[in-house]
């Protein structure tokens, strides 16, 4: 693999879940490439397709209940074509994931140490002693206090923040190049969240990891991401460097999200809320999915889904009325 090729290259990814009465169109044509060492945040509300996109990178969707189209290339491997042993080799070794709720993601009947050792020995020819030494080093790296003792601890014996650190240690056990993080701090308290975000940032820098982080919280994206991709109804509606997205959002949805935050609003004033609710993924409108809630929508918006338009260096948005809105 040459260095210029992106570490992650997702093209026209669609994911449809067919298990229910009506097919649910969770991801509707996502194209995203991430360079080696880059941190990208997928930002969106529930049902926007951000977690489904992330899970496609580990080919985690159940085969018989989901239909995937498009291509997902990660570190030169065609992820959607992997299966069986090749997929198991890829998971954890090339790309690994940390989840929102470590208590559910970790196995409750094995100690943290045993789980890390198992992961190392699955992927590498390491003796038990070597794997145990690596597990200890990993717990030190994620700064778990008294790591020798914590290797012997079961997940339920740890606090929430400590469990998330252990989860990160497990994810990094086999030195993956890609780290996928699905709302890694959403279940944590504010004072713990910032510690985990700083830890992720530091590990990313130190290990040169390529990171995709899924979050609903713009603040979290701002703390760790180089680039933000805003998702709505299974599409990336705007993507750009984090500064651009915060200071110069171009898509009406991104603008609305930023304007409706209670962050700097005057106490007692009214928030500039986006009306309506996110669309039903089983019955998406033919045009722009945001049009029914958009204050700028025109007739053309309801007819066809807008393509991606470059609006600056590395900055693009999917909106038919970009030019008019910029001029206004």
């Amino acid at each position: 693999m040459n260095d210029a090729a992106p570490m992650i290259d997702i093209r026209d990814l669609t994911v449809t879940f067919t298990g229910g009465r009506k097919p649910v169109h969770a991801v509707n044509g996502v194209t995203l490439s991430v360079q080696r060492g880059e941190v990208v945040a997928l930002l969106g509300e529930s049902g926007s397709g951000k977690s489904v996109t992330l899970r496609s990178l580990l080919n985690m969707h159940p085969k018989h209940r989901s239909r995937l189209n498009g291509s997902v290339i990660a570190a030169g491997q065609d992820v959607l074509k992997l299966s069986g042993r090749a997929l198991a080799d890829y998971r954890g070794r090339v790309a690994s994931m940390i989840f929102q709720e470590p208590l559910l993601a970790l196995d409750p009947v094995y100690t943290v140490g045993a789980q890390i050792v198992e992961a190392i020995r699955r992927h590498e020819k390491a003796t038990l002693a070597v794997a145990q030494a690596r597990a200890l080093a990993l717990l030190q790296k994620v700064r778990i206090p008294s790591p020798e003792r914590r290797l012997q601890a079961f997940p339920h014996e740890m606090s929430g923040g400590m469990r998330q650190r252990a989860m990160i240690a497990l994810a990094l056990a086999c030195n993956p190049q890609i780290l996928l993080a699905d709302e890694p701090t959403t279940a944590l308290d504010a004072t713990v969240q910032i510690q985990i975000l700083l830890l992720l940032r530091e590990l990313q820098r130190e290990l040169g990891l390529t990171v995709i982080l899924v979050t609903h919280d713009i603040g979290v994206a701002v703390e760790v991401a180089d680039r933000v991709a805003v998702m709505y109804a299974g599409r990336i509606v705007e993507t750009g460097p984090v500064r651009e997205i915060i200071r110069n959002p171009r898509h009406p949805y991104t603008q609305g999200l930023l304007a409706s935050r209670a962050h700097d609003a005057m106490s007692g004033a009214r928030l500039d809320a986006i009306p309506g609710a996110p669309p039903d993924l089983a019955a998406l409108p033919p045009g722009c999915a945001f049009a029914p809630r958009c204050r700028f929508s025109a007739a053309a918006c309801l007819a066809e889904a807008p393509g991606s338009v470059a609006v600056g260096p590395q900055h693009s948005a999917r909106c038919l009325r970009l030019a008019e809105l910029a001029a206004a």
Partner: protein
């Protein structure tokens, strides 16, 4: 304080607090020992005092385990307190003021909009349920339910006959708000009421809460872990840590100039919104300690950056600080023995 429309139920006038809470304590037993004797307790709420003024919004913030939700449930008498008194507009709850009369004036909205609605009742029946229990005839209760639906922005003709599972989270939370208002309460306790909602829907519900507060002359207790939302909603803020009040004061003051080191750390933990001014060091290390065995003295001393030897021995009382807040920190209390505190005033 804004003018509150005159309410015939108002007793002590605008100056008298709507709610006064004195030394509220709730310990939950865990690990029942032999013969059901409990060995240890979770000190969930451990001596909480505050006043709630008429027409204000009091925000309660703190991390999980700090006792904010237990406080809310104690205020509603959903769980009986071990100790302490709640005075509602001059009347002691459970003594001068019987519980049914109290509950008619205090209502609550919970975080989980689905779990707090009966799945087998239609929306209109859910809203009309409490008034009917309190003796309002069915027809009148339903009529009022329809009015309330319209007030919270849901077309009565479209929504009245539906069931909770047919609605989105934002719509269900509007229903819960309508139901809380059905008894015409004076105080509404909002316990993480917008936390489960998407950001775009959260803003709509916050606006609705502000509108309803004005229209009905309500007083709110607004509990949230989201400090941005609390800053937006609250007139005053109470910061809790491990079952105790760390600091209480005007929202403006607490957010601009927190007096307790914990409040300061909590505020500094909020993610920056500026990519060029990211947080560089975490204000605190580790998780909050376990409320089963809280630290001695000041409960925050194990994580505090300004800790002195006295902090593990002396429990700070909640006292008026120079900046106008009430603060439980030895550094703010003259003569406490903390090196950063002012010396005690000489008594002539």
């Amino acid at each position: 304080m804004k003018d509150v429309p005159h309410d015939p139920r108002d007793r002590g006038g605008p100056r008298q607090p709507l709610l006064s809470v004195n030394r509220l304590i709730k310990h939950f037993p865990v690990n029942k020992g032999l013969l059901g004797r409990s060995k240890t307790v979770v000190r969930a709420v451990d001596g909480v005092d505050f006043d709630l003024l008429k027409g204000e919004t009091l925000g309660i913030v703190g991390e999980s385990g700090c006792g904010k939700s237990t406080t809310a449930r104690l205020l509603m008498h959903l769980i009986p307190p071990d100790h302490g008194e709640i005075v509602f507009d001059g009347e002691s709850v459970g003594h001068d003021l019987p519980l049914p009369d109290y509950r008619r004036q205090v209502q609550m909205v919970f975080q989980d909009s689905y779990a707090s609605l009966n799945p087998r009742l239609t929306i209109e029946d859910s809203i009309a349920f409490a008034p009917r229990v309190h003796g309002v005839p069915r027809r009148e209760a339903l009529g009022r339910a329809h009015d309330l639906l319209a007030r919270v922005g849901l077309e009565p003709s479209r929504f009245a006959g539906r069931y909770p599972h047919e609605l989105s989270g934002g719509q269900r939370q509007r229903i819960n708000i309508a139901r809380a208002l059905a008894l015409e309460p004076r105080l509404v306790i909002l316990d993480e009421a917008v936390s489960a909602l998407d950001k775009s829907v959260e803003a709509q519900v916050l606006n609705l809460l502000l509108d309803l507060k004005e229209a009905f002359g309500l007083t709110y207790i607004f509990i949230s872990h989201d400090l941005n939302v609390v800053r937006f909603m609250a007139d005053r803020v109470m910061v809790m840590y491990l079952g105790k009040v760390a600091e209480i004061g005007s929202a403006q003051q607490v957010f601009a100039q927190p007096s307790h080191p914990y409040s300061a750390a909590l505020l500094a933990s909020m993610p920056a919104m500026d990519p060029d001014a990211r947080t560089e060091t975490a204000p605190l290390y580790g998780d909050p300690p376990n409320p089963i065995n809280p630290p001695s003295g000041c409960r925050f001393h194990t994580r505090c950056g300004s800790v002195a030897s006295v902090c593990s021995q002396v429990e700070p009382a909640l006292e008026d600080a120079a900046s106008g807040q009430r603060v439980a920190c030895l550094m703010r209390q003259p003569g406490s023995g903390h090196p950063a505190a002012m010396p005690a005033l000489e008594v002539a």
